[in-house]
Symmetry: C2
Subunit: 471 residues, 2 copies
């Protein structure tokens, strides 16, 4: 099975059913998404078109000039059996069946039919009723979302096509990298369990985000999830614990859901981190994929604004972390460099102060303090604020607002040296702020709010604790 | 007191203490923020400078050529008494004291001194240790954040300077309008209670967001909050319910916090909506400021993706809303226009379908259905997705991807006609998507995730219920 998923995520050539020159169909969007980036050959099959957006079209899969190793199908539901047989005859034994209209709308027989065709020809497939896959390491995006996040360590496995691709713009906005995303849809053949097994040994994946509406193979899921989560953190979002959620899930991917508390107990037993919404799912994986695990729960908070310091401290304690009062020595050391109105007990509110203190000196003191296990940073004001004051736009980062790349590099090497997690946040800095982009591009997440950074820190601590407990 | 706050938020001319030609100080940033937009005269006072960023400087407040009616002070703490006296002598009886270093760092006597000077001269002031104010209707931003959200109905009252201004970029990103933002800091004179009383009758304010780290005048707060919240919804974020949060708050604004459950009971008794983080605070106010209140809890969900439909349904039920199965008639009406793979029970998953169905026909059916009280919409794919498929950037909205302004206008007029709340969400559409901007600019909030829209809908229903119960 590991080889099957590896094949599907790394095809050498693709046969595509369901693209046309009508932009307003799913199939065409997905086809364009593939040909815009993928380096391998793509062979569209269509009975009438000669070319689709510049790509030569073949009337039948028999006509294609090489042995393609993956078929992608976005066809009217009733045509799937016929074309799946043609693929089998042509020796193509990997497929992604994107078309919906099977078990999730009550057509159980039709779904059974494609399963039996696949068995006959040895075809292994994702779907039906899925959105396909994204492999950043292969520049291959078969989904309908034309955003291509950069390479990274997070892989997504999702019963919903939505969550396998709609968050891509969010990944890009937050400078997050992705490894692979796999939408399993109705799981008629390959399912969530198979995907977890595949990702267990995938060297490009260090963290796994899972979205489910129900688990089909309970025993197998628990066995695999328990094993994999010891090596790689798994964050899971479960929708289906309410009547309406369950109903929606069933008509969506024909998933069989169960009571929330049962699923919750399963997740706990398997060492999974539970997310309660899609933002949590990616907030948590972003931290887990990029940061070393903290040795304990004691967090140091650095802020340039008191309110954010207070909400971070409050959130940390609500989430089970500690924000200890720093030792007299540490306080003295900070006091010697900070303005008199600064707060130094923890949170450390530097107020307005030199960039060097904020980005290097204060983090250094906390990183080397053995009574601190992780650091939260709020602020990150670089040049853009000052540019706006002056109504300027063309000022370079170096030497402006006192922030230099050297300074940020110094912080990055301190983080590496002391191996403690650092999570940043800002209401103001987005990727258009050079400092924020620099952090994100060097694996320090920058959350859009101080509470979200604090919750992600709590999850790092939780996973660290879970792994220790189960090792 | 109402007049006092009105004066401070609508000055005719300002005296500014603490700006210089050094961009890297708070005072200078705040000064630039004011002069960049404010139409009234601003008189900077400085002993040595002749001009500050092009504005003529006066050596003393005695020298200014007109009767300014507001003094803003960003001076070293110890200088405040002296200059406050000079303002008093010059007849300026409104002030914003931004400088920190008073009660919050233990300097109780110094704070008492400025209070007694103010009393002597009849000066009423905000602060000390605050960030000042923003009044969108006056183009006046005295804060340090150089972002100026458009005019709207939300007013902010905050003990933290951070939350009175750091969220401004967030307001702009989400197309949210603001009325006024007031940072009260240490509340040595004007406090939260005064601000609520002022906003009660302020015609530019229809919704109030409050951030507190503790309440100083408990009885008065309860009396006023109870009264105001019957007229205008108040959403409140309280930080201080944990040991670390309380400690941070105390050193931040010298606030006296109390146990979380006590504050929670107070909020409930006063009819306040509680937010647990800053995103909730603004998610909720954004809905309350823009939407009619639902008559009940029954929500219709329209989505172009099943996963988002499922999380909205799940979140709604977790938050106490209902997602009822639609009547046979309503389902039939939808089935007659939607593709066969669409789901029509509720959530309504249109899958990929015409823009007219998504934006007009389906909303219309739900808006006129008497068994539905409010609508959640997920999707909002306009032209930008298609542009990306084609690697184009210069396509006009009209007639592209089937979405036209006329269509959106039709939806807006349906919303107006049926007076039901509509909240939208999308992972993909931000303001750079024309459809999203059009929604936001016409008072339909577009949340960055389906769960956040669902939670905001629950708050609309909660406030509707609270108001009914207490009327």
């Amino acid at each position: 099975m590991k080889k099957v998923l590896k094949d599907i995520l790394n095809p050498a050539a693709i046969v595509f059913f369901g693209a046309s020159n009508n932009l307003m169909t799913f199939g065409t969007g997905q086809f364009l998404n593939i040909i815009n980036d993928y380096k391998g050959n793509v062979y569209p099959i269509h009975p009438e078109e000669k070319e689709i957006f510049g790509v030569k079209v073949y009337k039948s899969v028999e006509d294609i000039p090489e042995d393609a190793d993956l078929a992608i199908m976005v066809l009217p539901t009733n045509l799937i059996p016929k074309f799946l047989i043609q693929c089998g005859e042509r020796g193509i034994d990997r497929a992604i069946i994107i078309s919906a209209g099977f078990k999730e709308v009550g057509k159980v027989n039709l779904q059974d039919e494609i399963v039996s065709i696949a068995k006959r020809y040895g075809i292994r497939f994702l779907g039906p009723n899925c959105i396909g896959i994204y492999n950043a390491y292969k520049n291959l995006n078969t989904t309908w979302i034309p955003y291509h996040p950069k390479k990274g360590g997070i892989s997504i496995v999702s019963q919903s096509g939505t969550f396998a691709c709609h968050p891509f713009p969010y990944f890009i906005e937050n400078g997050m990298g992705i490894s692979q995303s796999i939408s399993v849809g109705n799981e008629a053949d390959i399912d969530i369990v198979d995907c977890l097994e595949y990702l267990e040994d995938d060297s490009n994946t260090n963290t796994i985000a899972v979205y489910i509406e129900g688990i089909r193979r309970g025993q197998e899921f628990m066995g695999v999830a328990k094993r994999v989560s010891k090596k790689k953190p798994i964050v899971i979002l479960y929708v289906g614990g309410t009547e309406a959620g369950s109903r929606a899930g069933k008509s969506h991917t024909s998933a069989l859901s169960g009571p929330d508390h049962v699923y919750d107990a399963v997740f706990k037993q398997c060492g999974l981190i539970r997310a309660y919404n899609i933002e949590e799912l990616f907030d948590y994986t972003m931290a887990l994929a990029s940061q070393p695990l903290p040795k304990g729960r004691r967090i140091g908070i650095i802020t340039d604004s008191g309110g954010s310091g207070a909400v971070m401290a409050d959130t940390c304690e609500r989430m089970g972390l500690n924000v200890p009062i720093l030792s007299k020595d540490t306080q003295r050391e900070m006091r010697s460099i900070l303005p008199s109105i600064a707060a130094v007990t923890n949170p450390i509110d530097v107020t307005i102060d030199s960039a060097r203190h904020f980005y290097v000196e204060i983090p250094k003191i906390l990183l080397k303090d053995p009574s601190i296990d992780g650091i939260l940073l709020y602020g990150l004001f670089g040049p853009s604020i000052y540019k706006r004051f002056l109504k300027l736009n063309e000022v370079e980062i170096d030497g402006f607002a006192g922030v230099s790349r050297e300074m940020l590099d110094e912080l990055l090497s301190l983080c590496k040296r002391y191996r403690k997690p650092v999570l940043a946040s800002s209401f103001i800095g987005r990727r258009d702020e050079e400092v924020v982009a620099y952090f994100q591009d060097h694996n320090i997440p920058v959350y859009p709010s101080p509470e979200r950074a604090s919750k992600a820190m709590a999850v790092l601590s939780k996973y660290s604790y879970l792994r220790e407990e189960r090792s």
